[in-house]
Every structure is written in structure tokens, then in C-alpha cells.
Symmetry: D2
Subunit: 339 residues, 4 copies
């Protein structure tokens, strides 16, 4: 059993914790919090040992009836690998600690590529993670782009990618971030940083990305055009998507045309936290114009990287050599159902 | 086993169906749809027999791979009782059919009181439902008001109630309804219709309600003031709420101050569809000023009436005589956890 | 003086009315309403004679103190030209009336091209409108696309256009339309209908458009990529935009990165109804990648077509032969200020 | 001519500047900014001399073509009185400077009462401001409450006030603040701080306030109930509101039921920045239940305090002794039109 610690039990951390706990070859040795709040009560209800960074704050946890198992250092001492799901840029500061403790660590997309020196995606470079101490699972948007671009590149070769990303303003449980009634260019400049981020995983792909933020809480929407090197039919493309374990077709017959309806559907399927771990590619949008492929895909910002973290654990530990095997194990443990 | 049919498998219908299926003394004989869409695929995935109102549309269902068990009439013939969860005002038109088929029927709050002639709330008038053919479970807002008013009335007597209801604009899965950036008085006139609706259950309570709609999808928020007939302490009030099986205290220690954080918390607790079946009363808001009680409560518009429908089934069938027993059975089957 | 009637005094109609009234060579002979409401009080405050389609409803207007000048037929009898700003598809039904009255008519983009048989844009085909009885000013989105595409086509030749359009869900004064928390693909299919609509004005331009709707009320945002036939520098492009009378550069130095800030800026400039009549092109977004031009532009859905209607009047009447002269007259009368 | 400086040219500052410039007895000697941005360009377009707090930042302004007239100290030296419209809590830090320069200063509601030692409302305590060096114009919400409470108190005596305030999440031009899809209790505790704030102006009024924040940008909505000491009819109440120079009736005949429609109406009336300086009281909501008055009022958060600042200037300078005269002067200069 691989012993996994979660440093930072928030939006991503709590999901990875449950996904780890569901795997047959992994167990949670602890999760960490800085303050006692709703998430701490959830960790308690799940039975995850709770560790805190600043042990002097233990009494604040005691006061509300949450027992503290020890310090983050103590948690790391029990772990083979730690998922760093702390807020962006905090992870970089944790690196010396992980080095001192000699624990492997997986960073999230909020950190720079340079912090880990290696950016991971299950489809694209699973084997390159073998034996590494550090890796970074790329952000939700980058993960979603890598999956579809890599699949098309394998099948037809990709000449050029253009992606317009319409991003959610805040996660559903956040209350401070906006905007309320605006489309915000973020950044105004073109290309946005997402293109170069894709290239940390797929360095040979020419890609121009444009990004904006809108007042929604659920899922990013990507409008993608891709120049393919070979001729492909729409049916071929749909078949590739259908067979891919991390891409899901949002069927025309469901009548779903929006992020809201898609979230409702995933909720009704009974998935944990209504999570869409796959790219949600709208069947009816997939179109070929000459050698140019167009499509819309929804990316659930809280969810798609969760499964990549699980695979990254196996790759870095080296316990499963074949990426397809790891992906299958991860998906089955979570109860993937066709969307 | 009580045989239950669900006429209208949408936002409320799909939740009541799952709640019925979870009860030890009930079973689903069928659910109905008018069109094949995402909900129809969900019914199929749950294994609920699917019936359709207009059997001539059967081929549209066949075409997308959803098998149709028969007509709504055939469904009703198999049922002891039907939950009418059709859109507002459609239920009234179904009444002659239910009468013809001799099946008991439970309407939702979108119908007028007069359609059923009896308005139901588990706490307030469970026993009055014994043997009736028709009952109407009052709306989510009215249900939430009845629970807290009745509990206070039993304990202290209620002199007068004032409630300002800040209502969600649409359900999370809807995409057509707004507003996007407005507070809409609905209605402008005071009192709103909600006060008289409370009086269909609690006719002796003087109540003035004011209602508006805001651009959110999750839960209504009630700002309530209640003149009590006897002196009460804040602690007494909190104790009554804590002990009530359908009211939940949103603890100060969770740090939750909004509908969004509350929804996230309920989701993290692992509840089906992140549903909050109880009134979510904010502990830190409960205040006594003289004999006047003030509080905020969140009401999950999709959820709080679901459990009332289950109790109404038992009351109308007469299979469980004690409301407390039915409420306990319902809650346990759904896996109520303290919020 | 050209005598202009406005059939449909709503979001577009009230703006065109004020723009007509501001021109030195035009006058308003009347505006029409179907019901007495806020807009009717505004028409009264402006002193525009108010006509109604159904004269039997006159008493409803009288009752609230709004005097009715007569029927729509009577209004048309006084006019040289009518702006049909009725809701989408109503305009088509008015055509026989306009033919009977022998009055020229300008339709809006909500009508099909075929209703007028000619689709107008001041830059692209002003002279083709001379002498016509009917014309259609293309929609706000199409107008915004035509301006930038035509300008680039004139300067460099345009090989291909890709445009992702992120559309506002409702106008600021609407309260019924959503979505509240969703990105809606509208349509899901690619290309959307906007590309062919651009081709009603610029038939030789290959263009693929993708469209979605988000929960904002202010302005559409276009993410555009254009393959040019000749090499161009970023500076050349900026110069063309700066000199264009209907395109405005949103300067980097203002710090504006969103529709909300842009609307605030236009409001602060003192423009009537905070209207942005130009394409709002974000200076910092303009980028050349090889021969491919990328940029973001904001399109104020209530405003950009207003000025096109004014030019269309002069073109159809034939009173001003040079489009540049008409554009200058229109802009000056409205008090265009550099944004 | 009273010489007025505006320290902080933002949402409130820019509005007060224009209102000052419109008065026959006042002039702007300067406005201040900390950074060159869109507002600085607006100040330039209005011809207001621009001063900056940190003169070392002058080159940043020069670089974008905005000339700087000098430092804030220099601006204050030219002024009889300064409007401190800096962000909340910054004003307190400016007090020693104003004392040193011997300039009168008006703070906004974001500052504590204690900073100025006197909280101002034109209706309630104009004469108490004579000769003071410091005053604080209470916040938009408090101003709106003071107006209606004071008017009712004068006419009938007010026994008790309950107000539920549904507040906008951000101003229209802001893009960082949320929430996007939540009702946020702010604060959760009852009473909120607004009640005590009303009592800084009207210390004898018992008032309990409850406050929440919703995802809109335009106007707060107040749901008010007031126990009157004497019997009143609805018609009496409407007459008092109609005659009040700072309260406006939103007429039933306009069909307006929301903040969005009200903002549109005020925009169409041609008011500067679509500003609603009055309480927008919904005619159709005004109701008497026994001796209890109920009503809804919309409060434009950016606007209602602007006119109070103008009156406060005259009161503190002592140039106009009669509050009714000042209010009339202010209103006429701004072109108040009946809403």
C-alpha cells in the first residue's frame, strides 16, 4: 500500500484524498489544515488523521472538537508521497521541507513548472515520471487541452492549435471572488500563458490560447480549432473520443447544451461531488472544415486533475509501469460511468 | 410495500423517486416523462420503469435507446399512490384522471390549495391526512416557514411573524430563467402570497411575508422575525432547533456564512445530490430582542419537500400512525447526518 | 429634413430615436408602443409623438396620463422612412403594411436577410442601398465583425476568419432571461449562424464562428483570429483601427480589461446611455503570429447598430452620396469622443 | 464661491466632483488620484486639476499624457473644504493632514463615526453641522434609512424599525468582488451594524437590521417594516413620499418591479451616470397592516450620498442656513426629474 499524505485539504485536496482512499493500492496517512473550518469537520467525518502546519494552533481545533494528530512534519514522516494541494505559490515554499524529509511530492498547476522541473499528464508522459522525487500535475485547463491535443496528434498529427478558454470566475463554494456582471480578459494579451503551459507537456505543439473569465462557478468552456496534418472524418474523431478513458461525449440525445445541465447530469449519475473527471466534449459541436477540427469541451476545474494525481502517484512510485493499467485502475475505483 | 408512481420525473420527481426507493416500506412502480432527455437517461440508469403520457411519442424514446414501459394510465393502474411532480398548474388537469383510476395523489406546492383541498406538513398536520385521496405538500418556502413557526408556536406561542424571503432565480440545472443582474420584487405588493400559503397549514398564525428574487441558483434565504407570546432565551431556541429532526443548525464553528458554502458542506458530507432536506438555520444569527426572535434560515428549494412527500405517502395510506415514527423512518433511510 | 418614424420604441428603437433627433438633417415624426410602460413615459418626456398599433388600447394609455397621437398607420403616413425595431420576426409581418403605405423601411438583425433582400453595413456597402425600399441593418455581432474584417480585407486581404463570440445573456434592463450560472452553447453546432450572416454583407470572406452565452448584461466579447493575405505589423493594424471612425482602441494605459470597466469608462465620458457605438478593440490584445492576426473586441449589443441605422437612412433616401460624409455627420451629431 | 477639493477620485469622488461643478456657489479646485488609470483620463477630460498623493509617481502620469498639478498638500492649500472619498479607513489616516492644513473635511460612510465625531444627513441634522471642521456623510444604506424613518417619525412617531437589506455585491465597474452564485449573510449576526449606524444620526429610534449580499451590481433593496405611533393611511404615506425632495415613488404604471428596470428608467431620463439620488420607493409595495408600515425601497449605492455631500458642504461652511434651501439648490443644479 502506497502511503499518501495530503498537504492542503481544500477544493483539490479533499477530492484527491477521497480518490486515494478509493484505490486498492493506496491509503491516506493524513491530511493537513491551517484553520479549523467546514473542511476540517469533513476530514473528521471521513476519519482522515488531521495534521496542522502550526502546532501552536492546536487549541483552536480542540475547542471545536476536532482532534489534531500532529504536525505536518510528523505527517510527512509517515508518507511515501505527498500531494501538495496548498494554494498557488505556497507549494514552492514547501519544497525544502519535502527535500529534508526525503518524501516524494506532487505539485498542482498553480505552481510554476520549474518548482518540480517536470509537468505530468497521464496520457502524454506517464513513463517519464518513473523514479522522480517531484512532479507537477498541470492545471485543469492544461490537462483538458493535453488530452484532446495528444489524442489528435497521435492519430493525425497536429499542425496548430487555437483555443479560446472561457473560464469560471470562482469555484461554487467561494464567495469573495467575482466578477458579478462582466467578461474579464485574463490576460488581455495574446497568447495567454496557457499555450506555453501546454508546451511544458507537449513541447512540439504550436498553440495560441486566449482566455477570459465570466461570472459562473461551474466548469471552463474551451472553443478549440485544430489544424490536423491528415484528413479525418467527423466520425473518426467521435470514435477516438468515445474510446478514450478520460474523454466523454456529451450526447446530442441528452439535450445538454450548457455547463449547468452537464453538472446536473453528472450529479444525477450519482458521482462523488458531481465531479466530471473527463473532458466533456459536446458531440454535436464536433466539426471538420477541411483539415481543421472544431469542437467545444467543458472542463470541470475541480475534478479533471484529481485522476491525474492518482496516476502520477503510481508513476513516481513506479508501482505500475503501464499508463493504461493505471488509468483503468483509477477510473474503476472511482466508478466512472459513461456520461 | 406501498406502490408509488412518479408523474413528472424532473427536479422534484427524480428526488422523490430516489427517496421512495430508499424506504423499506415503499417501491417505485414507474416514473413518467414527456420527452426523451437527460432525465430519461437517468431514470434508465436507475432502473425505474419509464412511462409516457402520449404513447404516440414512443418512437422518439426508442430512437435514443430508452425503452418505454407503457402509458401513464398503465403506470397509475399499478400504483397505490402517485406523486404528481408535473410543472405548476398541470397537476390540476390530472385530477380527473386520478379520480377515474381511483389512485391517491400527492400534489406539490405549485398547485393551488383547492386542487387537493388539504395542504400537508409532517410536523403540523400529519394525522389530518389519514385516509385522504388528495393532499398537497406545500412549497419549499412554505414548508421551511411551517417547520420553524410551528416549533416556536408549540413552545412559546407565536403572536406574529414577519418573513422576508430572498429567493433563487432558477434551479442550478436551468439555463433560461434569470435575472442576471437584478433584484426583482416578486411580487411588489406586500404581503406576498407566501403568508396566506402558510395559513393553509397554520390558519391561526398572523404572518406578513415579503419576497424578492435574486440571481442565484442555490437555496432561498429567509430573514425572519417572530413575536413570541412568552419569554425565551437564545439557548432555549437553539436547543429546540437542535432536537428537531427537520431543522439543522449551521454551526458558527464551520465558518459558513452563505448558501454557497452550505451547499458545498452538504455535498462534502456525501449526501445524495448535495441535498439539504432540513431548514439550515444559522446558529450565529439566532437572536432574541425582548420577546422578538430573529434568525436567518436557508431553504434548499429542490430538497426540503422531498422528505415531506415521503411522510405524506405513509399518512395518506395510513400505514404509520405516528408522525414522529414516519419522520424517523424517512430520515434514517436517507442517511440524515448532522449538518 | 428626412421624416423618420420608429416602429417599436424599445431597447434599439429608443436609441435610434434619440440619434435621429440629434441629426441636423432628420426629424422624428413619431414612435410606437403596444403597451403603456416605462418606455412610454420616456417617449413622453422626450416629446416624441406616440402612436399605437391597436388603437382600441388608447384608453390604457389615457389612464396613466400618456396621450396617444394616433395609429401606426397614421404615423407611417407622415414618414419618409420607418425604422422597424419591433421584436425579432414581427418585422416580417409588417412588410405588407410598409408596402401598402409606400414607405421605406429599415429592419434590424433579428429579421432574416430575405425579409429586406439587402443587408447593410456603412463601411461595406453604403452605396448599394441607394434607392432601395427595404434594407436590414445586420445584428450587433455581425456589424462588429463586418467592421474589423472589412478594414483588414481592404488593407491586406483576408484569407480566413475564426471568431468565438461570448454573448451577454440579457440586456441590462431585462429581468426574465438567464442564464444565472452557466455557459450555454448557443448553438452547440459549429459553425454558428453568425458566419453566414457576415456573408450576407461580405460574401467572399471564409469565416467560421462559434457562439456561447454567459451570465452578463453588458456587451459581447469577440475572440478573433484572422489569416491575412499579406504580412502586417502590429503597429500597422493599430494605426488602421485608430483612424477608423467606428472602431475605438481601449488603451492599455486606462487599465481597462473587462466589459464592466469599459462600460463605466464610456459612462464617465458622458455619452448618452453609456453607449459604445464603436467596436471596443483592446489595444493590448492585438497580436500578429506570422500572418495571423489575433484580437479581442467588445461589442455593445444595444449601441453599435444605432449609428448604422442613421447612415442607412441617408443611403436609402439618397441624400448623402459619400459614406464617409454620412458616417462623419452621424458621429459628430452624437458627440463621439475618443475612447 | 466655495472652493472644494476631492481627495480620492473614484466611484463616489467623481460623482461628487461633477455635482460640485454643477452648483452655482461652488467650484472644484482639484481632485486627487494615486495611480494613472481610466478615472485619471476622465478627470482630464472634465478639466479638473489633478493632484497626486505621492509626487514621486508624477512620471507615471506624464508617461500616459496626464499632467499633474501638484501634490495633495498643494491641493488642500487651495481648498475651503475637502471631500474625503478615499477607500474605507484611509480617511482616518488623513485626519492629521487636514488638521495641519486647517481645512474642513467631509468623510464618507466607510469611516467610523468617531473619525469625524459627527454623522450627517440633510433631512435630520443639517443645522448641527454649522461651523464644524469635520463631518461624516453616513453610508448609502444609512442615508436611505434615515430619510424614510425621519419622515415617518416627524409625521407619526416611529416606535420600532425592522429593515432587511439585500445588498449589491460589487459596483458595476468592479471586477474582482463577488459573490457569483450565493447569498452571503454579512454579517451573520443580528442586528447588523447598520442599525447602530442609523442611531448615530437618529439616536432615539429603536431599529433592528439584518443584512445580506447578493450577486448584483445595481442598488441595494430594503425590505422595511415600521411600527408607527399613530394611525396612518396608505394614501397619507404616499403623499409624504411624493412631496419629499429626496424620495421618489416608483409608480405602478411604469411596470417597474426590479433594480434593473429602475436603473434603465433613470438612464433613459438622461440623468448623469444613470444616478438615482433619491430613495426609490415602490408605490405598489407601500402597505399598512394595523399601525405597521411595510415597503420596499431601492437605494443606489453610488448616488444617494452624493447630494448629501453637497448639502454638508454648505452646512459646514455656513453659507446656507436653511436645509430646505440647500436641498432645493442641490437638486435643481443636478436636474432632478420626477422618477
Amino acid at each position: 500500500m502506497i502511503k499518501v499524505a495530503i498537504n492542503g485539504y481544500g477544493t483539490i485536496g479533499k477530492r484527491v484524498a477521497d480518490a486515494v482512499a478509493a484505490q486498492p493500492d493506496m491509503e491516506i496517512v493524513g491530511v493537513s489544515k491551517t484553520r479549523p473550518n467546514a473542511d476540517a469537520f469533513i476530514a473528521k467525518s471521513r476519519g482522515y488523521p488531521l495534521y496542522i502546519a502550526d502546532i501552536s494552533k492546536k487549541s483552536a481545533f480542540d475547542k471545536v472538537g476536532i482532534s489534531v494528530a500532529g504536525s505536518v512534519d510528523e505527517m510527512l514522516a509517515k508518507a511515501d508521497i505527498v500531494i501538495d494541494a496548498t494554494p498557488g505559490d505556497v507549494g514552492a515554499k514547501n519544497k525544502p521541507l519535502y527535500e529534508k524529509m526525503g518524501v516524494k511530492a506532487i505539485y498542482q498547476g498553480g505552481e510554476e513548472h520549474e518548482v518540480a522541473g517536470f509537468s505530468f499528464n497521464s496520457d502524454c508522459n506517464y513513463r517519464d515520471a518513473f523514479g522522480r522525487q517531484f512532479a507537477r500535475v498541470v492545471s485543469c485547463n492544461t490537462t483538458g487541452l493535453c488530452r484532446i491535443i495528444h489524442a489528435m496528434d497521435k492519430a493525425y498529427g497536429v499542425e496548430k492549435v487555437r483555443a479560446v478558454m472561457v473560464r469560471r470566475g470562482s469555484d461554487p463554494g467561494e464567495i469573495k471572488k467575482g466578477p458579478i456582471d462582466a467578461v474579464v480578459l485574463n490576460p488581455v494579451t495574446i497568447p495567454s500563458h496557457h499555450g506555453p503551459d501546454v508546451q511544458t507537456v507537449l513541447p512540439h505543439i504550436p498553440i495560441v490560447t486566449m482566455a477570459m473569465i465570466v461570472p459562473t462557478t461551474m466548469m471552463h468552456m474551451h472553443a478549440i480549432s485544430m489544424d490536423l496534418k491528415k484528413v479525418a472524418t467527423r466520425e473518426d474523431i467521435l470514435t477516438i473520443i468515445e474510446k478514450h478513458p478520460r474523454m466523454g461525449l456529451v450526447r446530442k440525445s441528452t439535450g445538454i447544451t450548457s455547463t449547468a445541465e452537464l453538472k446536473e447530469y453528472v450529479m444525477d449519475l450519482g458521482r462523488s461531488r458531481s465531479d466530471l473527471w473527463e473532458n466533456g466534449i459536446f458531440e454535436d459541436s464536433v466539426a471538420m472544415v477541411g483539415k481543421e477540427l472544431y469542437l467545444f469541451q467543458a472542463i470541470h476545474q475541480e475534478a479533471d486533475v484529481v485522476v491525474e494525481n492518482i496516476d502520477a502517484i503510481r508513476a513516481m512510485i513506479g508501482s505500475v509501469k503501464d499508463p493504461e493499467v493505471s488509468v483503468r485502475m483509477t477510473n474503476e475505483a472511482l466508478g466512472f460511468t459513461a456520461i
